[in-house]
Assembly symmetry: C2
Homo-oligomer: 305 residues x 2
């Protein structure tokens, strides 16, 4: 079980070497991460985009360009479709966004002919390594589905649980979060949290233990659970997966922690046939590399399913 991103890296080293396909790869920050992924034996890369620019940037970063396959396609849309098709056809294991806007990148992900659509909604899992925690935390959805329905929430749990499984967490504990830990009919988030718990108990959501609604402190801190008489809860201070009631709650918590706590993180798109890495311009170098490592174990897990 990977308890942090260092563990995750050694987990990756035990998998078959993965191949990353990058759409519109002429981006300095993305190529830096690709270079680190190569050096740390996380993944090889196929770089699709403007070859001259890719080589120029790559060489300025000290990359040995002979180590990479480059496919020259100066048009961004065409490059993204070629890059995603490599994953669709099994020639690469994971797909990463380069210098292309998110909208067009997602269009390639969802392309009917050569994309990675599953018919289920796209979502997002953020993985946190926080000081004081002996495990990785999986946060969903902090970025994609604005106001998830109950069905969306079940999907989001399944996605996050898949990512946790890929990281070696055998039976992740899932906390559908709310402001309070008891069902209040006037708070739909608490009602849905209880319903997700029931769905887990009755075998409709599997591979994990779901217990909600839970407040943030009871989900994550044993002493808070004890203080509030909640130690009898199935998830009390030891949540692995944090399910947020909506994107505002998720995103505000995500950004607060990323900015205020000295921590490591990575993230991955979910609901796709193969792992997709859509890091943002503001993500750090380490976050980008962590995200590639995360995608690699998810790809390995998919292969073994």
């Amino acid at each position: 079980m990977s308890k942090n991103f260092t563990d995750l890296l050694s987990q990756v080293s035990k998998c078959d070497k993965k191949k990353l396909s990058v759409a519109v790869a002429q981006d300095k920050a993305v190529l830096e991460a690709v270079k680190a992924a190569k050096e740390r034996d996380i993944a090889d890369a196929i770089l699709v985009g403007d070859e001259a620019k890719i080589i120029e940037i790559g060489e300025s970063l000290g990359m040995n360009m002979a180590d990479y396959t480059i496919i020259n396609e100066p048009d961004n849309i065409a490059a993204s479709l070629k890059a995603v098709k490599l994953v669709h056809d099994g020639e690469a294991d994971m797909y990463m966004k380069g210098l292309i806007d998110t909208k067009n990148f997602l269009k390639s992900v969802l392309d009917k002919d050569c994309g990675l659509r599953t018919g289920k909604p796209l979502s997002h899992v953020a993985v946190f390594e926080l000081p004081g925690f002996d495990r990785l935390l999986f946060l969903a959805d902090v970025a994609f589905i604005p106001y998830p329905t109950l069905e969306d929430k079940a999907n989001i749990i399944n996605y996050a649980v898949d990512v946790a499984h890929a990281c070696g967490v055998e039976c992740p504990k899932v906390a559908p979060l709310a402001a309070v830990e008891v069902v209040n009919p006037k708070m739909p988030a608490t009602v849905e949290a209880a319903e997700l718990t029931r769905m887990n108990e009755e075998g409709e959501i599997t591979g994990c233990i779901v217990d909600g609604p839970l407040s943030m402190d009871i989900a994550l801190y044993k002493e808070a659970a004890e203080e509030k008489g909640a130690l009898g809860r199935k998830v009390a201070g030891d949540a692995d997966v944090l399910l947020f009631p909506d994107i505002h709650a998720g995103n505000l918590v995500y950004k607060a922690i990323v900015h205020m706590v000295d921590m490591q993180n990575g993230c991955i798109l979910t609901g796709t046939k193969a792992p997709v890495i859509l890091t943002s311009r503001s993500d750090t170098f380490e976050t980008k590399v962590n995200s590639i490592a995360l995608a690699a174990v998810v790809a390995e897990n998919l292969k073994n399913k």
Copy 2:
């Protein structure tokens, strides 16, 4: 302007000495805070409750009980009504919860004859002193109003702005938060944030500058605002007040920061005629003392209005 709780304490020392009325005061953690408030010259206290128990606990804490007025009323409900009436009648400046459940404490706050009701909804402001920030942050509402309407949000802003004013922040910058910084008709929180901005521009919300929707990073971090081309926003990296779209977002962020960041905080109930301190059992000693200091400057500000 108080930039932190140390400043707030010296601000309090310049005010007339305030008097705190405590409902059902026979509570060790509450009496510890009352003792510190006395020692630090924040407030004197009137202790209403079971006199024998109050004296026993107080003496065990090394309190000189001659320094306090004690009103013997062993019945909890009656004690809360007597304690709140002292504030209602102007014999005390602020009201604090002791060993009484929140529901009955709030009943006393809202009592028609001797309570502190204003006709406006009760709400809550949490004040954070965070490492790396040169100012206090005012978070609302993380505890009271589950799904605030637009009108509630305007009230919540007014309450938080009043508390910021009391702390010497002349024209607080208010960020109505959301997952994104642009209006999206599919996200009501963003639409309402824009509406609150308009209400401020047109003089319906005064004493502050409102600018939303804003994401957490743009509201609080200049570099994030710069990276995202948002430096032209009226609130960009320098928000004082964080308005949350609902209680889930607010409470989850609040608890994450309180538990994960080495920080100081205090909080106060709002929407009442006089400041009310309703700290929770899980709040630290310092949080309780900070909350009393906060209530003292709010009481001073009310007096000068």
